[in-house]
Amino acid sequence: MKSSRALAAICTVLLVPVLGSCSVIGEGDDSPATTAAGKIKDVVLVTHDSFFLPKKVVKDFEAQTGYHLVVKASGDGGTLTNKLVLTKDDPTGDVAFGVDNTFASRALDEGVFAPYSFDAPAGVSAYDLPGDDDHALTPVDNGNVCVNVDDTWFKAHDLAEPRTLDDLTDPAYQDLFVLPGAATSSTGMAFLLATVSAYGDAWPDYWKKLMDNGARVTAGWSDAYEVDFTQGGGKGDRPIVLSYDSSPAFTVPKGATASTTHALLDTCFRQVEYAGVLDGAANVPGAEAFVRFLTSSEVQEALPESMYVFPVVDGTSLPADWASYAMQPDQPYSVDPADVAAHRDEWLREWSDVTSQ
């Protein structure tokens, strides 16, 4: 009894200072606000939580411009957009990256971004947001949401792979398709828009057929890909999954020369991600410098490896395995952003009705 008492006392005495030193208090703000000349040093970037650039690239930006980049990331593209809309009178940063063409109209309508155009490198303007006449948004990257298939599974089962959206409703592919839902995932939303683009007002009929054919709808991309897809981490039982055009580059076994999956290029919806200067930014020159930097060859070349997306600048070289495994569609589906803005709620409500019966 006595020894345990002593032990307890020692533990208590030892623990208190230890606890004290491992608190986050006292960890001050490490951001020097201005330089001697009065120029604001920090550029605050508001972005989604997939944002990533190699440290070296960020360092180069800071060395070239003399600014210090502060990154504030949380939530997906939708949360980001709504965050920007809610704080438009008092923005939480200077520049935003990651608003995509399915959400951009909302941000533009609300006046989140201040117009800013510059001599962008060749190819960038091909991705401009339709209707963005004042040029508030600059395209930075693009990627496609495409149906992916497990080639090894189809070979083993001696079945021809599906190719088109229509094929997915073919009874031959019953109970083989898994996809994240449109209401809870931006990937799922992109696929809903692909079907809206392909079938027009008849899209709900397509979804009825899809669901009747045993499609499984999950909450998010990780759930569909990692649990249910046969090539995912959980080794599931469905060989057809909704993912990205870049996904096949991640399913190349060690030492192999071919990917075990490929994207169906006739089922794709193109997503373009934009950057823009926030209206009311404290550091407008810094924000503009960062937008320009995002279209520099340094960042464009880093995009595939760091964010799994394709560059928008003409002639940017791709990583070796991307050039051979990640194909991009020539004619992806698209929907006018203004249409998306006007009908998003209605489409989502109808989609929920069709898929939850």
Binding site: A8, V24, N82, V85, L86, T92, V217, T218, S356
Partner: protein, 545 residues
């Protein structure tokens, strides 16, 4: 008059904290819904409540949370008894282990449950994937720890003698439990059940992942309306509905909790050995351990499978890296340090606030008005559990953005938000024990010449010491596992473990999935170790103060 002033002084700090970090942000978001374009439009909000979908959502929330609460209590009570009243080898380890589910990130547990229950999983033949049963099982998995720890803390120091007397007079064990033990435990059980119900009713990830989008709760609906549709009117309507329901629940719980004479005789615990008549309880505990171990086992097995090279520790070794294709900004090991440091802050914050609140609400009231004030305060501190993390997160952004409350970018925001989540757990663990202390003991101490501080030390501290440790364990675990508010507020360079796990699981790449599982196992193990240390620290001599 002096009593009223003391009450006000003690309550001042907790009320101020809750006012700034809860009432202000939430009312900011509600205001956006009620004043959509600057003009007051309550009609728009009320009309949302007429939508048939809202009725379905509401019914499902109440139904699933009620069932999950009942199951959690039924499974938690025998375990609380076995783990807190009986002595057997491995008791402490088991007690620490059963708190583990509480900190696991919901997204990972959701995935583990789906691997277990899915078409090709080991339990796939049950056909439970995507059913309400799976949702309820998930809710119980997360919340049964609350029942075990909160009720256990109260049960542990309960005087055994009245029960023994009843048994000696011929009462059967069931009769003893019903007539002696249960009434004494009622405040603790009702306290725990009300917290579990609130956690279940506001569960987000579990419903989303396990329900397969077919089932929507008020919480998931608020999330969808806010982040996907920016329908702030709808979100405001549902938030108000949620708040009203929570207040109603708290009123009911307050009634149920109240017993004619709350004072219970407390003794220093002397756990007995397991005896033959304990076997039904032991079996029930064993069943619970199996239920909890299944999904955790799935996680552990998954974490040991390295993509492309079979079994091994590769996923664990990778935790010092930034993942395949650099999915992370910082290695998981760095995130773990951040998590621990944040949890230390969240723990002391919630403990000191919780203790103040508990003292304020448990002191015997002299008048009806005073009692009412104390009861209102008691309920007020439970409210954070009844509000959606996304409402609170967006609320922070739009209300705490100008001086003197320019706190949007403060590094302390994360621990404060986590402390608010843990606060009700702390309060609900301490209050039943503290209110069981007979006020006459304090009066006796005072009349013998003890000052207020000494009276507290000799009368309150000996019985409150253990629940306090239980509560600190809770607060620590809650902070380690918190994701909703943290992901919204955490700064990029300093993410916590649940945040990096979420990131890993959402990024393609051969190792990232395995690393997410390994990181979850490390998070779980860390919690278990911290809990064991807390158990060890239970100073056995405190009665001799």
């Amino acid at each position: 008059m002096r009593r009223a002033l003391t009450l006000a002084a003690l309550a001042l700090l907790p009320v101020a904290v809750l006012g700034v970090f809860f009432v202000l942000p939430v009312s900011g978001m509600l205001a956006r819904g009620f004043w959509p374009d600057g003009s007051f439009d309550p009609g728009g909000v009320i009309s949302v409540l007429g939508r048939p979908r809202v009725h379905r959502v509401l019914w499902f929330t109440v139904w699933s949370a009620s069932v999950a609460t009942v199951v959690s209590v039924l499974l938690g009570l025998p375990a609380a008894h076995a783990l807190h009243r009986r002595e057997f080898p491995g008791r402490r380890v088991l007690r620490a282990a059963l708190l583990v589910p509480f900190v696991l990130p919901t997204v990972v547990v959701g995935v583990a449950f789906r691997e277990l229950l899915g078409e090709s999983g080991p339990l796939g033949f049950l056909g439970l994937d995507g059913t309400p049963v799976a949702i309820v099982a998930g809710l119980v998995f997360f919340n049964v720890a609350v029942v075990i720890r909160a009720v256990g803390a109260s049960w542990e120091s309960l005087d055994q003698r009245p029960a023994d007397a009843a048994a000696a007079l011929g009462a059967s064990p069931a009769q003893v439990f019903r007539t002696v033990t249960l009434p004494a435990l009622r405040p603790a059980i009702v306290s725990a059940a009300s917290v579990v119900f609130l956690f279940c009713a506001t569960a987000f990830g579990v419903v989303l992942t396990l329900g397969g989008l077919r089932y929507s709760s008020v919480e998931t609906e608020i999330y969808l309306l806010t982040t996907n549709l920016l329908d702030l009117q709808g979100a405001a309507a549902l938030s108000v509905l949620q708040l009203v329901a929570v207040v109603a629940l708290l009123l009911v719980a307050g009634r149920l909790r109240a017993v004619p004479d709350p004072s219970v005789s407390r003794v220093l615990p002397r756990p007995r050995r397991l005896s033959r008549q304990d076997w039904p309880g032991a079996m029930a505990t064993l069943l619970l351990v199996v239920l909890v171990a299944l999904p955790i086992g799935t996680l552990v097995l998954g974490s040991l499978q390295v993509e492309g090279s079979g079994w091994g520790l590769g996923n664990y070794r990778a935790l010092t890296t930034r993942g395949t294709h650099q999915a992370l900004l910082v290695p998981v090991t760095d995130a773990l340090v951040t998590s621990l440091r944040t949890a230390v802050d969240a723990t002391w914050m919630s403990l000191s606030l919780g203790l103040l609140v508990a003292v304020v609400v448990t002191r015997r009231s002299r008048s009806r008005a005073e009692r009412r004030v104390r009861a209102t305060l008691d309920g007020f501190f439970m409210l954070p559990l009844g509000v959606s993390a996304v409402t609170l997160g967006f609320g922070f952004l739009i209300t705490l953005d100008h001086p003197p409350l320019e706190l949007r970018d403060s590094p302390l925001l994360v621990p404060i938000a986590q402390a608010l989540v843990a606060l009700p757990l702390v309060v609900r663990t301490i209050v039943p024990v503290l209110s069981g202390v007979d006020d006459r003991q304090r009066q006796a101490a005072a009349s013998l010449g003890a000052g207020p501080l000494r009276a507290v030390l000799t009368v309150d501290l000996p019985v409150v010491w253990k629940p306090l440790l239980a509560a600190s364990g809770f607060a620590f675990a809650a902070s380690l596992g918190e994701f909703g508010a943290t992901s919204f507020l955490a700064r990029d360079e300093h993410p916590t473990v649940p945040v990096v796990i979420f990131r890993l699981i959402g990024h393609p790449g051969p190792m990232n999935y395995g690393m997410a599982l390994a990181a979850s196992v490390v998070l779980a193990a860390t919690t278990a170790v911290v809990m064991l240390v807390v158990e060890r620290l239970r100073v056995p001599s405190v009665g001799a103060f």
